[in-house]
Amino acid sequence: MTALVLTDQSPLPEGQKASLLGTSRAIREECIDATTLQLTNVGKIFDQLEAIRSISLAVAKGEFVSLLGPSGCGKSTLLLMVAGLITPTSGNVIVGGSDVRTPRADVGVVFQTPILLPWRSVLDNVLLPIEFLNLPRKNFIERAYALLKMVRLEDFAGALPRQLSGGMRQRVSICRALINDPSTLLMDEPFSALDAFTRDEMSVDLLRIWQTYQKTIIFVTHSIREAVFLSDRVFVLGNRPATIIDEMKIGLPRPRALEMMEENDFNQYVRHLRCSIEAGHAY
C-alpha cells in the first residue's frame, strides 16, 4: 500500500521538489496494480472561491481510507468529485485505470442522509441501482436479501422507509450502494446524523461488510475516533482551500472491536491526528 501526497506548496526548494516528484512517479508506476484510485493535483474553484487546492493521493485496492477534516473544509466536495458528480477545475481523478467524468457503475455512494425513496419498500430501494443499470432485477434479489441480512434488516425487506429508524435507513442505503457489487464505496459522513450508540454499532457493521465483500472504501468524516477506528490510513484535510496537511497509517490490528477505543495505542493515534488538525488551523 502506498501513499503519495504531493502538493505544490510543499516548503521544499525547487530542485529538491522536482526530484521528489520524480521518485514518487517511479514508485507509482511500480505499484500500479495495487492502486485502484488515484487523484492527481485535483483542485476545485466555485465562482472564484477556491474550495480544494491540488490534492494528490492514491488508494490501494481493498484499502480503507478516511478523509478527516473540520465541517465545511471541502472533503465532501472531494468525495463527490471521485463519484463523478462534480467535475474538478484542475487535475484528474482516475478510478480503475480510467478518468472519472461521470458517475460509474463500479463506484457506490453512501450519502450523509440515507435518501431513500419513500414509496419504495426497503427491498425496492436496495434494487434501485439495478433498475437504473437496466440489469435483470430477479438476478439480484437474492443478493439484496444477503446484504440486508448482513445489516440485520432481512425482516424489513417489505417495510417502507418511514417505518425504519435513522440507523436502519442508513444501513439500507449501504446495501443499495453495494447491490451491483462495485469495487469502491464512497461514504460521505454517513453516520454523522446518528446518535453515538448507533454510530459505534454502524462502524462495527461497516468493518464487517468491508471485510466480507473486500471493497475499497473512502470514508469522509469529521470524527477523529471514527477515522482511527475504521481506517488503514487517514488523510487530514486543512481548511480553505482544502489541502492534505497530514497522512497517517493506522497500524491497529484487525479485526477491530469497540473495546480498542479505550486502549492506549488507539488514543495515541487520536492525539496525533488532533494535533495535526489544530496545527492546520493555526496557519
Binding site: 458517475p103 455512494v109 425513496l117 433498475e131 418511514r162 443499495r176
Partner: protein, 263 residues
C-alpha cells in the same frame, strides 16, 4: 406509521350533528315565520321533491355527471401529459408555460357564450368548458410535483447512473402523485362549475338546465332539490378521489384526515 386504525365515521360525527341542527333550525324557522316556499322551502319539502321527482332529477343528474367525469378525466390526462412534455422539453416549457399562466387572467365562464357560437348547443361546449377550467390546475400541480424533487435525491439518482428518463419515471412521477391528486380535487370543483354554467346557457339537459328551467317556473323546491342532488354527487366524487389517493399515495399520512393524527 398508522398506529391505530381510526374509524372513518368518528370524524364525521361532529359535522353531521352540526348539519342536522342547522337543518332543524331552518325547518322550524321557515314554518314558524310562514315563509312562502317560493322564497325558501323547508328542508322537508326539498326532501319530498328529491324522492317524488327522482326520475326527472336522475336523468338530468346523470347527463351532468357524465360530462363532469369526462371533463375531469380529460383534464387529468391532458394536464399530466402537458406537464410531462414541459418536464422533458425546455423549449416548450419556456415558450408555452408563461402563456398558459397569463391566459388564466381570462375568466373562463365568460367564454361560455362564445362556445355556443363556435360549437353550438349541446354536450360538446359543456364538456369543453369543464375541461378548459379544470385543465390549468391539473397542469400546474403536475409541473410542481415533477419539479418538487430534492436536489439531493437527483444527485443520488445520478450517482447510481439513472438516465433522465429513468429518473422521471422512477423518481419524479411517483413524487408528483400527491400533487396530482390534490390537483384532481381542485379540478373536480372547477369542472362542476364549468359544467353547470355551460348548461345554463348551452344545453337542453343536465342539472344546470334543470335549475334554470325550475327558476323560470318559480319552482324553488325543485331548484333546491337539483342543487342538493348535484352537491351530494360532487361530495361522492370527491370522496372517491380521496379513496384513490389513499390507495396510490400509500406512503404518506392521509392529508385529508380531519383528525390529523395518522401518525
Amino acid at each position: 406509521m398508522r398506529t391505530k386504525k381510526a374509524n372513518p365515521f368518528d370524524a364525521l360525527y361532529s359535522p353531521v350533528a352540526v348539519t342536522a341542527s342547522l337543518l332543524a333550525l331552518w325547518e322550524i324557522g321557515v314554518r314558524a315565520l310562514h315563509v312562502n316556499s317560493v322564497i325558501l322551502p323547508p328542508p322537508s319539502e326539498i326532501m319530498q321533491v328529491l324522492i317524488e321527482r327522482r326520475g326527472l332529477l336522475l336523468s338530468h343528474l346523470s347527463s351532468s355527471l357524465f360530462l363532469i367525469v369526462c371533463g375531469l378525466a380529460l383534464s387529468v390526462v391532458g394536464g399530466v401529459s402537458v406537464a410531462i412534455a414541459f418536464t422533458f422539453s425546455r423549449k416548450l416549457r419556456e415558450g408555452v408555460y408563461p402563456i398558459l399562466i397569463i391566459s388564466q387572467v381570462v375568466p373562463k365562464v365568460a367564454i361560455a357564450p362564445l362556445f355556443i357560437v363556435w360549437f353550438g348547443t349541446g354536450t360538446l361546449p359543456c364538456l369543453l368548458l369543464g375541461f378548459l377550467i379544470a385543465f390549468f390546475p391539473m397542469t400546474i400541480n403536475s409541473v410542481l410535483g415533477f419539479q418538487a424533487v430534492d436536489e439531493e435525491i437527483h444527485r443520488m439518482a445520478r450517482a447510481f447512473m439513472g438516465s433522465k428518463r429513468q429518473i422521471f419515471w422512477k423518481v419524479q412521477f411517483p413524487n408528483a402523485l400527491p400533487y396530482i391528486f390534490s390537483g384532481m380535487k381542485i379540478s373536480l370543483t372547477l369542472v362542476i362549475i364549468g359544467d353547470v354554467v355551460s348548461e345554463f346557457v348551452a344545453s337542453q339537459e343536465g342539472i344546470g338546465y334543470l335549475i334554470k328551467l325550475a327558476g323560470g317556473l318559480l319552482d324553488t323546491p325543485l331548484m333546491m332539490a337539483a342543487i342538493t342532488a348535484l352537491s351530494l354527487s360532487g361530495l361522492t366524487l370527491y370522496w372517491m378521489i380521496s379513496q384513490l389517493e389513499r390507495r396510490f399515495v400509500y406512503w404518506q399520512v392521509d392529508p385529508d384526515s380531519i383528525l390529523g393524527a395518522g401518525g
